[in-house]
């Protein structure tokens, strides 16, 4: 291999090198062509066709490890779509659903794809980390985004086109802690568990711990877990050695459900308070009869007795073998409903006439933020920065039936927040 000098033109090494250079030139040419062809990426300057339906894009995690949420969201959005189509509406709306997967590059690709196809607004992405990647792209191109499930701090602050219907946990957390303390006023010893590799859970636990500190309670044990963990023998036995009277968990459905089950099996009998990552019927099959009695702070309560929520519950049950919907599906429904209603309001007053797509997006964003909506989450509206203002929050207790495989969230407390406080 170390031949050098005296190379004839027929030498395979020389030929290979020349072939390499030729192919490299071809690749470079192809890339340049692709770069040129892919330059115009946004039809924002085109005029709207007044007859055509407006397209709404949704980028949800249908694959990857967040797909459980994505599948719930797909359900919520398609139910909302069916329900709203049946109502009288002056402007037709079409939905384009794309897989935003569970990683950042895929979310960006899905957003780019949908924007290029000329959507008027976007719903998604599923994870907060993905939102930090994809939302700035929509912001720069002036496409309204409604996040159905991003709860991390700073999402609406990404820009003027970014909003969310998922209330931040700071509002909800104190309710559930106070409820637990009301039931057991002598509680002194609190153990805290949280999934440390999950943006939602780490934000949530910070708020829980702040509330605990404000109530004069210092956790006797803080346990960090991972989203992909299944076996919690180590953290649980370590926490139980501190004899806690209250356990506060910030986790997602799977790991949280497992954690609750194993806490109970290992003999913990005190109260358990969980964050709203577990506000989904998906936990019933995981923690089964051991779910019973868990206190949960909810941004969505299936028990809410309003026409729209009853419709949502009915449609969800029809599509899902009689199950009750969870928060993720309700928030996805809400995201679709909010955009749909804003579109109809703009259409009614003739606001889309003669506009380009880019101008229509701006109009829609303005309308979106200024409206009030009656959703399955209760009445909501937006702050000027895009943060949701939700009027009602709930504390529920899980009640499992005798089979231990099905249950429901029974409302124990409902709180109306005074107008204006986020």
């Amino acid at each position: 291999m170390l031949r050098s000098g005296g190379l004839s033109p027929t030498d395979p090494l020389v030929a290979r090198r020349r072939g390499n250079a030729r192919l490299a030139a071809a690749v470079a040419g192809a890339l340049a062509l692709l770069a040129f062809l892919g330059r115009s990426s946004d039809p924002a300057a085109q005029r709207l066709n007044p007859e055509a339906p407006l397209t709404l894009g949704a980028a949800l995690a249908l694959t990857g490890n967040a797909n459980l949420y994505g599948q719930d969201q797909r359900m919520g959005i398609s139910l909302a779509q069916g329900w709203l189509e049946a109502q009288p509406h002056p402007r037709r709306v079409a939905l384009q659903l794309e897989d935003g997967a569970s990683d950042e590059p895929s979310a960006i690709a899905a957003f780019n794809l949908l924007i290029r196809r000329g959507v008027i607004a976007l719903i998604g992405p599923t994870l907060s980390q993905q939102a930090f990647a994809a939302d700035p792209i929509a912001q720069r191109q002036g496409v309204p985004v409604v996040a159905p499930s991003n709860t991390a701090k700073g999402i609406p602050q990404i820009g003027s086109f970014i909003s969310r219907v998922s209330a931040q946990s700071s509002v909800i957390a104190p309710l559930s802690i106070d409820e637990a303390l009301r039931r057991e006023p002598t509680t002194r010893r609190v153990a805290v568990f949280f999934a440390q590799d999950d943006a939602y859970s780490t934000a949530k636990t910070a708020i829980f711990q702040k509330v605990l500190a404000a109530r004069g309670l210092k956790p006797v044990s803080i346990q960090r877990t991972q989203l992909a963990d299944n076996d919690f023998q180590n953290p649980i036995t370590a926490a139980l050695q501190q004899r806690p009277q209250l356990v506060v968990i910030s986790a997602q459905a799977m790991d949280g459900g497992n954690l609750i089950r194993q806490l109970r099996e290992l003999g913990y009998r005190g109260q358990i308070v969980v964050g709203n990552g577990l506000n989904t019927p998906n936990i019933y099959p995981i923690c089964q009869r051991w779910c019973d009695g868990v206190l949960i702070a909810q941004a969505y309560s299936p028990e809410l007795n309003t026409p729209v929520n009853l419709a949502f519950r009915r449609l969800f049950a029809e599509a899902n073998q009689g199950r009750t919907p969870g928060q993720i599906a309700a928030q996805a429904w809400t995201a679709y409903q909010v955009v749909f209603e804003a579109i109809q309001r703009v259409q009614k007053r003739g606001g889309f006439e003669g506009l380009t797509l880019g101008e229509a997006r701006q109009q829609l964003m303005k309308e979106l933020l200024s409206g009030r909506y009656d959703t399955p989450l209760g009445p909501i509206r937006f702050r000027p920065d895009g943060e949701v203002v939700q009027g009602r929050f709930y504390v529920a207790k899980v009640r499992m039936d005798s089979t231990g495989r099905n249950g429901r969230f029974t409302l124990v407390r409902e709180q109306e927040l005074p107008e204006g406080t986020p």
């Binding site: 992909a228 963990d229 299944n230 194993q262 073998q321």
Partner: protein, 313 residues
Amino acid sequence: MIDTLLQTLLNGAASGGVYALVALGYTLIFSVLGVINFAQGALFSLGGYLTYLLLGGKIGVNGALPGWGLPIELPFWLALLLAALGSGAVGLLVERIAFAPLRRRGAEPLLSLITSLGAGVVLVNLLQLLMGAEGYAFPQAAAGLAHLPESLLLGGARIRTIQVLLLVISALAVASLSLWLERSRSGKAMRAVAEDPTTATLLGINSVAVVRLAFLLSGMLAGLGGGLIGMSVSLAGPYFGISYGLKGLAVLVLGGLGSVPGAIVGGLVMGLAEALIPSEASGWRDALAFAILFAVLVLRPSGLLGRRQLEKV
């Protein structure tokens, strides 16, 4: 103090047993072929889902056939055995598609890292299409555990009954596997191929059959592990086997690539090391496993109990 120590030991044994089971699956294949089967984690998941279906479980609403289930409800033991066989069969299939063609062509062994990973990606995503992403829990009555207490108190330390059961079954599986390798004809053939494939072939051992046997057995081990874990902590989506797969890889190296006792000792050491991490530092747990692995590789590349020498440079 004694209680805490006992509890730590117990915790370490409980998770270490599972790690050993996963690592053994890798070990069998590595010992005969010198390659790693990255589809092992997916086979682990598959075993869990098969067990669930054989127990009479129904497919959830996000799956391809919502509400569908096998028309049988087998007892846990039988379901576990059949699921292990099923995973073993798929393990054989993985060998046929991802490994055998490469070996026939004499391609670089490292290509099988990629092909087996591809097989894993296909398997996990097929599972997701069929079963949906939701979690499934096994019916508790199936294992006949309904009449036992949920956890046992052993001298001040507490452990869940199901984990004791899990540990016993893994120990039985590992013991019978070792015995089989030691005593049986095909076990001896497998060890001979692991020792020296060329000589083994000269001695008239059918090395292709031995390789297939290794894939069948390691697939069965993965299926067994998946079913047991599913029983203990339920199935948290099709990806749940993957994290076990990665941890098993660390254990494999820790014990010494290709060494059966090494995999067992490595699993226990890893379980114990994790149990010893104080709560404040529990976020670093996964780094610890790989830091140990890293240190072992650099200081003692043959692993704790490895007997194979590194290629001479």
